[in-house]
């Protein structure tokens, strides 16, 4: 009975969504909105358009990856909020699990895991760092980079019972978060606008380009890595 009723509700919901199909463009035939057009041409302030990779310089935003330019520059405030969501939930995991009884895991981490973590870990961390440093040029950026680092930390936890990083994690997360806000406040001090990109944007496609975008993405990478490692550590702690 319950299943039948649920199926009915679900069917109604799917029918509702299908009835909205005439409103949205056919699959693969979407058209760019004026907002997206301006973001791609880096033309919000009216001096962009016709961008050439490796040549165009001193645009309003110098990131070759348009998604990054939206996430970290045009809509940077969303990203600050998103980092705050992650921060809050990491904090909440700590608060909620704080009174949990500790019990030992019992099983020794096996030898193969320990040795292979020793080899893999530096590579994983390096790859994570690469992903968030090149976030404005290639796919990737702070969020996947941070997650990759957290995955490395998770391996470290699995291979070593005594390992504890929670103090460092709190420190890194606090500092990188504050630096993000401070970068924003610097913009407020320099030109009276919160989170403005106040550094020169350089040539599209260079590593040192697009002003504060790589700086913020590196901070996000550290922060996300620290927060997710914190969550993982908290969940792993007493096994």
């Amino acid at each position: 009975m319950r299943r039948f009723l649920s199926a009915l509700i679900v069917l109604g919901l799917i029918m509702f969504f299908i009835s909205t199909l005439p409103l949205i463009p056919e699959f693969g035939k979407a058209s760019l909105s004026k907002v997206s057009r301006a973001f791609i041409d880096k033309d919000v302030n009216g001096n962009g358009g016709n961008i050439q990779y490796g040549v165009s310089k001193d645009l309003e935003n110098g990131a070759a990856n348009v998604v990054t330019s939206i996430v970290v520059d045009y809509r940077s405030f969303d990203t600050l909020g998103e980092v705050t969501v992650l921060f809050t939930s990491a904090l909440g995991v700590g608060i909620i699990l704080s009174g949990y009884k500790r019990k030992k895991f019992g099983r020794e981490p096996n030898f193969i895991l320990r040795v292979s973590v020793g080899i893999l870990l530096p590579l994983i961390l390096l790859f994570g760092a690469y992903v968030f440093i090149h976030g404005h040029l290639t796919p990737g950026g702070g969020f996947p980079g941070g997650t990759i680092i957290a995955a490395g930390i998770l391996l470290l936890y699995l291979s070593n019972e005594e390992f504890d990083l929670s103090k460092t994690v709190k420190f890194v997360e606090g500092i990188s978060g504050s630096l993000y806000v401070i970068v924003g406040l610097l913009g407020l001090a320099v030109s009276g606008v919160f989170l403005i990109n106040f550094l020169p944007t350089g040539v599209v496609g260079n590593l040192f380009s697009s002003g504060i975008v790589p700086i913020i993405y590196i901070l996000i990478g550290f922060k996300v890595g620290a927060e997710l490692s914190g969550i993982v550590a908290e969940l792993h702690r007493e096994g």
């Binding site: 409103l23 907002v35 919000v44 806000v181």
Partner: protein, 456 residues
């Protein structure tokens, strides 16, 4: 400058992660700073974050309605920060984040940005509601809230497809009637959990009645107010009052169901939670009439309700079974509860009268009947609880020993708020002015659009 209202609490929250035990004593200063900053800000100011102009970047809009909403919310936070007893030790950081996110929710002029702030607010609320080991209630709230958030996101995307923009003013200008048939449904489901509409309000009693004083004292006042503000902003300013007929019906159903459930409860906190749901339903059905007068009446009533609930929830959660040791607290409780039922001379009377007047002006006779019905039930249970708490019959001596005396600062703040209720009962002008300003800001959507987009 209005970005500071969000940036400063966040910065302090981030900075104090390693030493979170000290932060409790900083809370009042942060709240006071926000309050002073708001009073110094000029009205009718639009802040383009990152320097990107209106439909492209994210804007923070300070107009009449958001300005006065900010004042209300920040006063609540300031009062709460002066009662450090009820803030459990780890929750101070959550308190700061909630402050930042609610300021953001009120200020933001961007639909997706409001989704982000909605999520921050909900995450902070889930953590708050898990205090006092109320894990199952918090889990239920989390699942419901997240599914609702998913629907809100869908609504955001549909309006992006329909208008090519995420800016509220741009959507308000460009949205066409085809999309107005779909987007409001999705956004309504998305907001129904936080605004406590009947089928999705099942989490409220479990969360509010967990026994913690802070949880209902924030969620039923500050968070509810900002959600109601967002609801008005989206449905009145952006959707021009489309879809409000459905909201009206849902609101009235919520009032009836919640009042009947409140009557049945034998736990004071649960009864108050149901009363909170009922008042939310009443508010939504009043603003559904979509005129300047009805919005004024609605927000005036909401202000009275959150003032009364502030007092009632803190007392109900921190006092035992009677007022034997806390006579002054009892007086504050009685004042607030009489205001809740709309007893003449108290603040609630004024707003209920105003609601009746607007309903009759709009030739709406169903709302007054429901309102009178709800008031009768409210009188029944409020009187019952007052008698029960003032004259407890079979109270054991050891229980009498256990009830603690509330400390002086709690009593003082509760008495001041209770005094405000009486003052509003005689001179409603202060609350009325706030409500009128919010209403005029929300209804005047042409001014909002030109304010944000410039004279395009």
């Amino acid at each position: 400058m209005s970005a500071l209202l969000i940036a400063v609490p966040l910065l302090i929250a981030f900075l104090f992660v390693p030493l979170k035990n000290k932060i409790k004593y900083i809370l009042p200063f942060v709240a006071l700073f926000s309050l002073i900053l708001i009073l110094k800000l000029p009205i009718e100011q639009v802040n383009f974050l990152g320097g990107w102009k209106a439909p492209f970047g994210i804007t923070l809009v300070l107009d009449n309605s958001s300005y006065y909403s900010l004042i209300v919310v920040n006063i609540i936070f300031f009062l709460l920060s002066l009662i450090p007893q009820i803030i459990e030790k780890d929750l101070s950081l959550i308190f700061l984040i909630l402050m930042a996110s609610i300021n953001g929710l009120i200020l933001t002029g961007d639909l997706f940005n409001s989704f982000v702030f909605l999520e921050i607010t909900s995450v902070a609320a889930y953590i708050l509601s898990s205090s006092k080991r109320n894990y199952y209630g918090a889990f239920k709230y989390l699942i419901l809230g997240s599914i609702a958030g998913a629907f809100y996101l869908l609504g955001t995307l549909y309006s992006y497809i329909g208008t090519g923009s995420l800016n509220l003013a741009d959507i308000s200008k460009n949205i066409n009637s085809e999309f107005l048939a779909v987007v409001p449904i999705l956004i309504f489901i998305g907001l129904a959990v936080e605004t406590k509409i009947f089928p999705l309000a099942g989490w409220v009693p479990d969360v509010y009645a967990s026994g913690s004083a802070l949880t209902p004292a924030i969620l039923a006042t500050g968070v509810t107010f900002s959600m109601m503000y967002l609801f008005g902003r989206i449905f009145i300013t952006v959707f021009h009052g489309e879809f409000l007929n459905v909201v009206y019906i849902f609101g009235l159903i919520t009032v009836v169901v919640a009042e009947l459930s409140a009557l049945k409860q034998d736990n004071l906190l649960r009864a108050l939670s149901f009363s909170s749901i009922a008042q939310a339903g009443l508010f939504l059905s009043v603003i559904s009439m979509n005129s300047y007068e009805s919005l004024t009446a609605g927000y005036f009533h909401l202000l009275n309700d959150i003032t009364a609930k502030f007092v009632l929830f803190i007392i109900a959660a921190s006092i035992g079974k009677s007022f034997i040791k806390n006579k002054t607290t009892g007086i504050a409780f009685s004042i607030a509860s009489f205001s809740l039922i709309g007893f003449p001379l108290f603040a609630g009377f004024r707003s209920k009268l105003l609601i009746l007047k607007t309903a009759f002006l709009n030739q709406n006779y169903i709302l007054p009947i429901i309102l009178l019905f709800a008031t009768i039930i409210e009188i029944a249970y409020v009187l019952r609880w007052n008698i029960k708490l003032w004259y407890p019959d079979n109270i054991l001596p050891q229980e009498k020993e256990k009830t603690q005396k509330l400390s002086w600062n709690v009593n003082l703040i509760l008495l001041i708020v209770a005094l405000v209720i009486i003052v509003i009962g005689f001179y409603p002008d202060i609350y009325l002015k706030i409500a009128q300003n919010i209403a005029s800001g929300l209804t005047n959507y042409r001014a909002y659009v030109t304010n944000v987009l410039g004279g395009m």
